[in-house]
């Protein structure tokens, strides 16, 4: 046998062994391998895409403009305090992104510009108006995305999802992939909740408070706010508490007049956990404040005994209990007819902290686990039937040479699986389709060679000469035809979404491996047959 053939056979043998080693983790056999094998050999294999194993693929947009608005509001309230320390008494009001300050003396102007270098003056006749400098606003937007990412990661970690993927995408988007989540809706709620916890005093003393209706139907909120606009005190707002009648299930909304300025916010929390009310056996969330929060809470409750304090999450009132006495120790309870899951999720979002800005969901692709399983089964079925059909066809048409092509085909499948496993590539449903197509294309190279060999035989060449020249003449045709498929696969990889990327990966790997098996594998088999003795006849 020629050296060159031996060398090629060794190459094929090694690649097969490697393929098997890499693909082993995807088979049940891996669990029966010895300990040292499981610890030291590749153990990941091919990863199933979300469309096959079930799960969520979510894309959120961080509304960075809201983060800038919130920061602006914080600046405005801080400005009052800081200037007061410099013995300057000012009033600030925020509209959109602008902070107006009065009086507009040059002392005030200087003090603001000294203390707040990140504020930029806005042109306004005779008034002092500031807004966050462009670069600062941009920085806030930018960090709000990173903060949101961190918060989401915290929430998901506490929720308990194995192998989540949380990535920043582009300027202001976050991609969240949660494989194998059973309750998608709950997961989406958990991530998407801003979780801005606020404690605000209820303004029952205002004249308007008594004029508010007892309760309204859901959906009427906007109308009510509209109706009372201008009639309520300037530093008050109307928020709603949701009440569900336990017997009838009817939902009503109770309007409350509360102070705009929060007495206390959730960023002063140190912990939140679920407890069960012993009387009604209803879950509630108990929160504890850090030292600063506990101090403020004590002061606020002390100053407002017999008044109501609203506990507000994302602008919805959960409850508004009457303060009975000064509360020291920094503990509070959030009640609101929760189910156990709701209470648990609430405690998670409170612990993980609020998002710096609201999230807007841009995309949600959720696949249930049963559909994923069905898809895998269908893919296997189609793959097996397609492969068998091609194998039979090749033997029928090319006889012994067909068997050689079929070996090449099987080698192709083994190597493809091995290559995917070695890259820990993600197998998606279109990816399975790509694999099956690659199987169909795999024998094409052999067909091109065989037909060439037939041509050469017809031209009167000996079998050995026919094999050699058939192989050489078919080479460029095979090469060309593969490259064009590779070009489209590369483009699909670049521009495709997850599942399509999976298709591009399997197709391009399949096609490349096909080049290898046809040009090295099939050729070697013919060479071996030919090297033994000069054939007089070629079964092709």
């Amino acid at each position: 046998m020629k050296k060159n053939v031996l060398w090629r056979l060794a190459l094929i043998g090694i690649t097969i062994i490697l393929a098997v080693i890499f693909f082993l983790p995807n088979t049940p056999a891996f669990r029966y391998m010895p300990q040292w094998w499981q610890q030291n050999m590749p153990d990941k294999g091919i990863v199933l895409g979300l469309d096959l194993q079930g799960g969520l693929h979510l894309v959120f947009e961080v509304e960075g403009d809201k983060a800038v608005e919130l920061t602006t509001e914080r600046y405005a309230s801080r400005m009052k305090d800081i200037l007061a320390k410099k013995k300057l008494i000012v009033e600030t009001s925020v509209s959109g992104l602008n902070i107006s300050v009065s009086p507009s003396s040059s002392d005030v102007r200087k003090a603001i510009e000294d203390s707040f270098p990140t504020l930029a003056p806005v042109e306004a006749a005779g008034k002092l108006v500031y807004r966050l400098a462009g670069s600062e606003a941009k920085r806030i937007k930018d960090t709000s995305v990173d903060q949101a990412l961190e918060t989401i990661r915290n929430r998901i970690d506490q929720f308990g999802v194995s192998e989540p993927t949380i990535l920043r995408q582009g300027e202001n988007e976050i991609v969240v992939q949660l494989p194998g989540v059973k309750d998608p809706k709950r997961a989406i709620d958990l991530i998407g909740k801003t979780a801005q916890l606020e404690f605000k005093m209820v303004d029952d003393e205002a004249k308007t408070a008594a004029e508010l209706p007892q309760s309204i139907a859901p959906g009427e909120e906007e109308n009510l706010i509209q109706q009372f606009s201008g009639k309520i005190p300037e530093d008050d707002e109307i928020l709603f508490e949701k009440k569900v009648n336990k017997e009838t299930g009817v939902v009503r909304k109770i309007p409350l007049l509360v102070k705009k300025q929060a007495a206390l916010t959730g960023d002063l929390l140190s912990d939140a956990k679920v407890n069960i009310d012993s009387r009604f056996s209803e879950p509630y969330v108990s929160v504890s404040f850090n030292d600063a929060g506990a101090k403020t809470f004590e002061d606020v409750t002390g100053a407002n005994v017999k008044k109501r304090m609203a506990i507000i999450l994302d602008n919805t009132v959960y409850s508004a209990p009457v303060i009975q006495e000064r509360i020291a120790g920094g503990n509070a309870q959030i009640t609101g007819s929760f189910t156990m899951d709701e209470a648990k999720d609430l405690s998670i979002v409170l612990r993980a902290g609020a998002l710096p800005a609201p999230l807007k969901m841009l995309q949600n692709v959720t696949v249930g686990p049963s559909l994923g399983r069905d898809s895998i089964e269908a893919g296997k079925m189609a793959g097996i039937i397609g492969t068998v059909a091609v194998i039979i066809f090749m033997i029928f048409y090319y006889r012994l040479s067909g068997i050689i092509a079929d070996f090449a085909l099987l080698l192709n499948i083994v190597l493809l699986l091995g290559a995917m496993a070695s890259l820990n590539a993600t197998l998606t449903l279109p990816g399975i389709a790509g694999m099956i197509l690659a199987i169909g294309m795999a024998v094409d190279s052999n067909v091109l060679m065989f037909e060439r060999m037939r041509d050469e035989l017809r031209a009167g060449k000996t079998p050995r000469a026919a094999v050699d020249s058939g192989y050489h003449k078919a080479f460029w045709t095979i090469f060309d035809s593969h490259v064009t498929t590779l070009i489209t696969a590369a483009v699909l990889f670049q521009f495709g979404t997850g599942p399509i990327k999976g298709f591009a990966v399997t197709l391009s790997l399949g096609v490349s491996i096909n080049l290898f098996t046809a040009l090295i594998g099939t050729k070697s088999v013919f060479d071996i047959i030919n090297s033994k003795r000069e054939l007089t006849k070629l079964s092709i």
Binding site: T366, E377, A433
Partner: protein, 303 residues
Amino acid sequence: MIELIRNTNIDFLGKRYIAFIVSGILSIIGIVAIVQIATGHANLGIDFAGGTSIQFKFEKPVVLHSVRVALEEGGLKDFDLQDLPSENKILIRVKKTDQRLGQIAETIENVLQQKLPDNKYVVDSTTEIGPKVGGRLRADAAKAVAFAVLGILIYVAFRFQFKFGVGATIATFHDVLAVLGIFFIMGREINLILITALLTIAGYSLTDTVVVFDRIRENLKIKQRESVEAVMNLSINEVLSRTIITSTTVLLTSIALFFFGGEVIHDFALAMIMGVVVGTYSSIFVASPVVLIWGGSRPFAKK
């Protein structure tokens, strides 16, 4: 040796005018489809148009009509229903709305729970695409098509003489247009998966054309005294069997995918089947005639 096709002597190029009429019609339908897609009149999938699609799997058989009535009573408008009776599955699609993402899905699930209380379901899949993502996916698909075309053009230009390049490119475009057109006429959804199939077809259809062109190139060198048309006819006849057999193997696997690959991949497989058939036809009846017409009958410069 078994030969399905042996020593054929078919005058393929002589039939080029019939082929041009057929192909012309197919291409025009494809172009109409593109215009309709661009102006938003085609049946765009929600990945491009934005919207919500939910697939439910029920415990017991469902009557499509009762679902329709239930959803209408629930206040839903402009929705599509599709069912897979063998597995008690229904697919509900609602296209672009102004509502917040998530709301429609919630409404649909609530309605079905209330109106069909004695038939429990599980949600197989939910897809919600906001307008921003829809727009981005459309743009990405357009870019993908453009770059694939460009890539193929560059490769063909690099490997073939200009007139062969023109023939291969026109044949490839023809195949993509034809499949897109047929899908459009059938009212099937134009979505990301279809675009993927179309690009795959583009790549694969070139394969067949390359096989034919390689032989024509080779024969032109040997048989310098014969007319180009005769050489082309001879070459196509010579490679006819391999053209058909390579297509057959891919066709076999595509058909397996179509029948057994599951609902999600169904349209992809259908497009592949059409693409392989049209691609084989075009490599015989479109690519070479275009070269002949473009390049004139004689003489062909060697390359």
